[in-house]
Symmetry: D2
Subunit: 346 residues, 4 copies
């Protein structure tokens, strides 16, 4: 059995394991004050061409989202998200648990657009009793989105401008950011991300690290006292070096982008092979998630050899499945999958 | 420079690094549902001689405390703790951030006693307007405590009986549990801990793991839906295998206790050497923390070669320092420290 | 100018003012333990034919909703509501501020139905990763709803049965409960409400009191320690007698229903008069809210003499307005409004 | 039986009842936007000689404290209070329920002093790991305090200066503010209170109103969006006029101070009479609370005719009781109490 279930089935890329082994018995100070964390921050800042941003390493994605969002918002404010956004659907109400409403905009492609956000903002501020409703005060997007789509540079630029117009921050969840930036359909750079958002994170867990996310705060307004927020939510890692060593490795020799490129290439190979057999897709494949629509009987056969995720029911006889690739995806297994598929449809 | 600053200066014990390396490219399911986590749970249950307890692996100590305490308490209830308890002093108000007051009992030895708790409970329930005050509904202790002292079996038995009398749970923070259980002054077993408490955790981060704590729930009342609590607070680790592999290793061949024994032995060696030179101590050394009282001028000399923590001021010319040992402490460096000390006092 | 803006424009009905004046200098104990509160509770229990329910008097509607919902739910649970529900739209995120997500079902008539709730419950429990999502654990409805519609006895009976099937409580927001129960389209009694729900409240603020709501807990599971919840959220009224005196008055000589009947009759008179002039309505008028659709130019003329609420835009030239009647509505002003309207359309 | 139990045993002063009766059927807009609330705000601003402060009327004291404190603090910050402070002892953890720790300073006279606060602040900012602890960020005092003592002008001036030095706000809980300001030992004016604090409230509930507190925000930093905070915590009163009418009455013809003066005079009369009989006191009587120490056998006799509060046990044979006077205290009953006491000690 080989699994295309998700992008966190394996441990970490070999470079990271090597670095962890090599440094294992060194003594370092705790809580992210070690020299490896400093090196990682310096390296990321260089890639962002932003010497002033604050960078905090955190252990996991939901933790990062809840800390960042609750740190930025005042208690009576809410965060705008696509209805399909991770914070709205798959974080067990973590944002609400910090006291904030997620204000949703319906979305089928996983994205939200300036026009929709502007309408939502106007709706709030046109209301003379607006204090009876939650004040929308932050925009949350993820890139890639939950359905693997990515934002173009012009889309991000417009979102950013709209947020500036309303004086609310733009937060980008980059759990799979590498896969957006190395997509062949992408025209956005890491530098653009840093410029166009106020807070964002560079995902490690799904991009080749054992665990960890690098939260970047570019807007000075949100930098102050941020470590208190981390500690109060249990997000301060005692052996902070673990995150420093991993991100320092990922941001050396372009490793982060190389790993993501591999994930995307494996997804493209899967998508092309499936397309050749004339299967339809829920969405075009642009990053590391592939959403083919297969007959249910076919899926049962595939499941004998491969683990794939059932995404949603499509018709009475067909389902959408998700194939997820990663830095660790074995190209031979991609070939095996496509071979099996060809055999099954013959 | 060698550091006796804390017990999380290094990475992980070699057995854990080996296990992580060996399994790195295996594919496993996420979020603690993998077979390594199952193995680790089975092994811990065997050590506890409790087949029915629930075990959840979490990434860090503060996160474990805040999840466990907020899951057990109802919103209007508070947790009883020593004034020196970690949740009251060094978690940035993490418990309060979940809505709960920490109800403190003054303590100098780090422990709290049945008589004090009983008085606090009576004070609450004797008040006819008791709903104007926070209902005390859980007892939090750590073993060892913040100042390295440990609870005896009879003390724990009495605490447990008192909690049962009042129908409130006893929670034991075991961030350094191994060092309590392998202290030469200890008469408590891991099995006792499981029997006498309702919820407790076996610390990994400070006991030889890269990171991670094993939360054990023995009281059936608190088991239901616990994974929701974990996820909602951002504590669900995507690559849950990392925790499973580490705890499986720690609970194979008695490794957990061996590592803790080393830490304790190094502390005893330090304490003996210091005592021979007639320095006084803040408390007797029973686990892996040593609290000698040194002249400030001496500390300055020691600091040229060794990192130690300033614990508190003692007199105008003396300070209490903390020397913390661990699974990783190099015995040669203990000898070097004592040699230097002997030279300095000569 | 006369206002049909809402049902809380005036003070209180004369019987309440009289009772407050008559008792003003009596000394009573605080926090709802006085004899007037006891009398009011006894009287309400008699009307409910339920001797065992707990009754707590609270100062305001949002406060009642947030206390009741957060007291019933566990931290990781959410409450199901119509998208138009007051807790989702007009309480500034009060429910989320207590840590809970409002799980919405789209609604145009203000109601939610068993089939929809059942689908939502199944969707949650069919998910093998359900702990990554908020557990739906309570149903919130209001009767009348935000758009003045009411639930029939068979609808409530089915909702209640579904909630029992899933073992989740049904909570009824009765801010305007009197207007539902005295609607000429209604077949539900106060006794039915008590039988079919687990927790509900009988609104006072909008029904003729100066302020105050009577929260009734019929399900024993939710009674324990409820006064702590009230106090912790600042809802404990020092001079609890004020609420006791008011509700005792309202539940003497059927006053509560008489006041509501007047509000409904005034709404019917408005609706009939408007209908005769062939204006369309957003919804049929069944309680004390009337939603006619008027030309914008007409509304401007009406606004010279009457205050009405703009409810929503309808077409380019027409708007929906809301006329709200109450216990205090002056029938002469209803006549004046209809006279003006007839003159304007002539 | 006559009660000296507290200062909220009766309804409201006759002037307030008259005003409520007179205005009862007028139509006003809701939520504090009515003209009576505007008049009350204007009148209070004049008394404060501060035209720019924001004034919000709220229903109750705990609600006011929790809204004001949680609005001012950021999530990781705590509020400094005397250990005996109302927010620490008698609000059921309302502050913690909003996520904030109450940082206590031990106090026997109910007050806290600049030196103690300064030490607490230094302790925090001297800690290089300060983000592991709660950031002290606000000072809460009440005037009078829980034991009836009052702050002098020089004490308040020093507290204010210290808060400015540390850039943290000073919040004054004025539940019984009138009794502080009209004490014969007082040298502070309402204008001083407004100048020396950042946020404070003028209590109504205990000072002659049916209910209600006037929260005054003088520091512009805390004014923004405050009504959202009120609404989110359920503190927005639909018939806001009720608060406006009451405070407008209280701040007409010096009524607020007159009512408080009566309460203080009655307390002085009680204290003098008791002192003449040579009973000791827990504290000197300076406002409307009297704390004599009586033999337990004597208290039993007194309890046959008068309700007094048992404050605390003193010796095996004596207890401290509290006699609380108010605007409503009947001087004849004060005489009766002293007569009875004289008879009993004879």
């Amino acid at each position: 059995m080989y699994s295309f279930l998700n992008d966190y089935s394996e441990g970490a890329c070999k470079e990271i394991m090597q670095a962890l082994n090599d440094t294992n018995l060194e003594q370092t100070s705790g809580y992210g004050t070690d020299e490896y964390s400093d090196l990682a921050r310096a390296s990321i800042r260089k890639h962002l061409e932003n010497a002033d941003c604050d960078i905090h390493f955190l252990g996991a994605g939901t933790l990062t989202n809840l800390i960042a969002i609750s740190a930025v918002l005042r208690t009576y404010q809410g965060v705008i998200s696509a209805s399909s956004g991770h914070i709205n659907t798959h974080e067990s109400g973590a944002i609400e648990a910090t006291g904030h409403k997620v204000l949703t905009i319906p979305s089928t492609d996983g994205k939200i657009y300036p026009k929709e956000i502007n309408a939502l903002m106007n709706h709030h501020y046109d209301d003379s009793n607006r204090e009876h409703t939650v004040q929308p005060a932050m925009v949350y997007i993820s890139n890639p989105t939950e359905v693997g789509t990515i934002y173009s540079k012009s889309e991000l630029t417009e979102l950013s401008a709209l947020c500036k117009k309303w004086d609310i921050p733009l937060f980008i969840d980059g759990a799979r950011l590498g896969c957006a930036l190395t997509s062949k359909f992408n025209d956005v750079t890491l530098k653009d991300i840093a410029k166009l958002s106020d807070v964002f994170y560079i995902g490690g867990t799904k991009m080749g690290a054992l665990f960890g996310e690098a939260l970047v705060i570019t807007n000075p307004k949100y930098k102050k006292d941020f470590r208190y927020h981390i500690k109060q939510h249990g997000g301060m890692v005692a052996k902070g070096r673990l995150l420093g060593i991993q991100f320092n490795t990922l941001f050396t020799d372009n490793l982060y982008m190389k790993l993501a490129t591999h994930a995307n290439e494996m997804a493209q190979k899967l998508a092309s092979g499936i397309k050749e057999l004339n299967f339809p897709f829920l969405t075009d494949t642009v990053s590391n998630q592939v959403f083919p629509i297969f007959p249910i009987t076919l899926i049962e056969k595939l499941n004998e050899k491969f683990v794939v995720a059932l995404w949603e029911h499509h018709t009475e006889t067909t389902d959408v499945v998700r194939l997820c690739t990663s830095w660790a995806t074995d190209e031979n297994q991609v070939d095996n999958f496509l071979d099996l598929l060809r055999n099954l449809v013959r």
